[in-house]
């Protein structure tokens, strides 16, 4: 109890300095939490597009981005005929632009695709999809920012398209995207006879391993991955995740410098007090634990404040109409745990030098120079 009070007392003595350190950690934690959660949400949404009513994705091996993947129609035809496959849906990804929106994701799909079949149609008839090459179906938000309604003709990229339906979906990419018949998309993006991926629904999920082996054996330039595998291994996701953690990590590093500064000042301003503790029997280890305890209190307080601030920020982002559907702000417990642990490690790392300095304080010197 006294030990704990010794830790807290010194922080309370220099309230402003302690608060600045707590704020430094809190902002770092909030930044890391926000960036990581938004990117995790984005990755989750992108994965959601691929895993819609399917378990396996087939795409071109070693491709850096699915937009560059080319899966030939012949492969689609053969895979569809395998007895393990319930259905195989080709999807062609493309990016188009309109006058106000430089990037609109375009999905080339067949009428049988789950995105078309199972989506909530706000306007239009799903049976009409794919009958004309200039037909498009818009996501609700895409319709909103394009100012389009059913039967309108809208300029997308270098073409004019006829809006035959508007979909409502919780996925931000789909909600802000354009759905074209696969053939039209292939022509529009000059990718005749190919798709970016094939999403596979198996008759029996237990056949996943067999299916992947068959893909590897039959098509040396293609790879089949289960959804979870894809999310883990897709290089773009890995880059995004690494970037998010790196950005957050830099923030925490700065926070750590703040803690280090506070702890150094904390030790320098009470050398005599530490000397007195030594004279009263405190070991170097006990002194170090006291210093680490102080930094741990600062870090934990910062982490908690940062989590609250970050959650608030994410909630505020969720309310921004322009970001609707793009940001999944669900806080993942594992992310929260990692952020708290990182904050704690940062705080302890920041206290390493001050603790080592405090351990080396010689009581006799501190007492001689009163």
């Amino acid at each position: 109890m006294i030990f704990l009070k010794l830790i807290v007392t010194n922080l309370l003595r220099h309230r402003v300095r302690s608060l600045i350190s707590v704020a430094g950690i809190a902002f770092s934690v909030a930044a890391m939490l926000t960036v990581v959660t938004i990117l995790q949400g984005a990755i989750g949404m992108f994965s959601g597009i691929l895993s819609s009513d399917s378990e396996i994705i087939v795409f071109e091996r070693n491709v850096s981005d699915l937009f560059f993947s080319n899966v030939p129609a012949a492969a689609l035809e053969e895979i569809s005929s395998w007895p393990t496959v319930a259905h195989a849906d080709p999807v062609l990804f493309g990016v188009v632009s309109s006058s106000d929106h430089p990037i609109i994701t375009c999905f080339g799909v067949t009428a049988a695709d789950a995105r078309i079949r199972k989506a909530v149609w706000i306007a239009g008839d799903k049976l009409a999809f794919g009958q004309h090459s200039d037909d498009v179906v818009l996501g609700e938000r895409a319709a909103e920012f394009l100012g389009a309604k059913i039967d309108d003709h809208v300029p997308i990229g270098h073409g004019i398209f006829h809006v035959i339906g508007i979909l409502k979906t919780a996925n931000g990419f789909e909600d802000g995207g354009v759905f074209m018949p696969l053939n039209s998309a292939q022509g529009f993006f000059h990718k005749e006879g190919t798709s970016s991926v094939i999403t596979i629904k198996l008759r029996n999920k237990d056949d996943a391993a067999l299916f992947k082996t068959m893909v590897g054996e039959k098509f040396t330039n293609l790879i089949g991955l289960e959804d979870a595998e894809f999310t883990r291994s897709y290089s773009q996701f890995k880059i995004l995740k690494a970037t998010a953690w790196a950005v957050g990590g830099c923030g925490l590093l700065l926070g750590g410098f703040g803690v280090a500064n506070t702890m150094i000042m904390s030790v320098f301003t009470r050398i005599r007090e530490i000397a007195i503790l030594r004279v009263n029997g405190f070991s170097g280890l006990q002194i170090a634990v006291m210093i680490f305890g102080e930094s741990a209190v600062v870090s934990l307080a910062g982490a908690v404040l940062g989590l609250v601030t970050g959650s608030g920020l994410l909630y505020a982002l969720k309310l921004v109409p322009a970001l609707h559907g793009y940001v999944d702000v669900t806080l993942q417990p594992v992310v929260m745990l990692i952020v708290i642990l990182l904050a704690l490690i940062t705080g302890i790392a920041g206290a390493l030098y001050p603790a080592a300095y405090a351990m080396r304080i010689r009581a006799v010197e501190a007492l001689r120079f009163e």
Binding site: I2, F3, R272, N280
Partner: protein, 236 residues
């Protein structure tokens, strides 16, 4: 060895502090403070070290407490040499207590919390510590101040608190460096009376550095220090 010799041995006064040819200097030898100091203190004695500022009184106390080490010679406490090989934590936690001119209490803590610091360091259980602190504050007349912060205490009360803290772990040797030096004459006398009373009651050996010859004269022995050496007057 016959029984009468054994009995004689047992009744011989035990030397608890010993300095043998102790040399100590500062600033790489530029300032010589102790020049071959040698003396002994037997158990239960009260010893006053007198001398001008800078004569080495505090240094000598620091050497006995293991806070510093001599360049030459030996310093022993309870028969064991105080050097880097000795368990200095045990020495500070259980064998010696320190009282300084400035009380050196932690101002943000209460009297009780300050006194408990040595027990926390030594890992003494809370109940034992509480029993001890209540006994000491009763003897020093501080019971009513137990929960008060140090800022609320008078100079005399602070010094009495420092005395309680020094005796918390029942050390048998008390090293006091100008314990009344920061107090006025009245408070100084009162604190010193208390100090002598408690060391007598607890059977503690006291070595006190002081400028106050009046107080020094009340100790069992008076050691004069000057020019880095000790000169014991014929009568104290």
């Amino acid at each position: 060895m016959n029984s009468s010799t054994t009995a004689q041995k047992n009744t011989e006064p035990r030397v608890v502090l010993r300095a043998e040819g102790v040399w100590k200097s500062y600033d790489d030898g530029a300032i010589s403070v102790l020049k071959g100091v040698a003396f002994e203190v037997i158990e239960g004695q009260t010893v006053a070290l007198c001398g001008p500022s800078g004569c080495g009184k505090s240094t000598l106390l620091h050497l006995f407490g293991g806070l510093d080490f001599p360049e030459q010679g030996r310093v022993s406490v309870n028969g064991a040499e105080v050097n880097r090989h000795r368990n200095l934590l045990h020495l500070l936690r259980h064998e010696v207590g320190f009282v300084f001119q400035l009380h050196n209490l932690i101002p943000d803590l209460t009297l009780e919390e300050n006194c408990l610091i040595p027990t926390v360091a030594a890992g003494i259980d809370r109940r034992t510590a509480q029993t001890r602190i209540h006994l000491l504050v009763e003897r020093t007349g501080l019971t009513h101040r137990l929960g008060h912060r140090i800022q609320k205490l008078s100079g005399g009360e602070r010094q009495r608190t420092a005395l309680c803290r020094a005796l918390m772990n029942r050390p048998k040797i008390l090293l006091a460096d100008e314990p009344t030096g920061s107090l006025d004459e009245h408070a100084s006398g009162a604190v010193f009376d208390l100090l002598l009373e408690i060391v007598a009651t607890e059977g503690v050996t006291l070595v006190m550095a002081t400028h106050d010859r009046g107080l020094a004269a009340r100790c069992d022995r008076l050691l004069e220090m000057h020019d880095g050496r000790i000169h014991e007057p014929v009568s104290a």
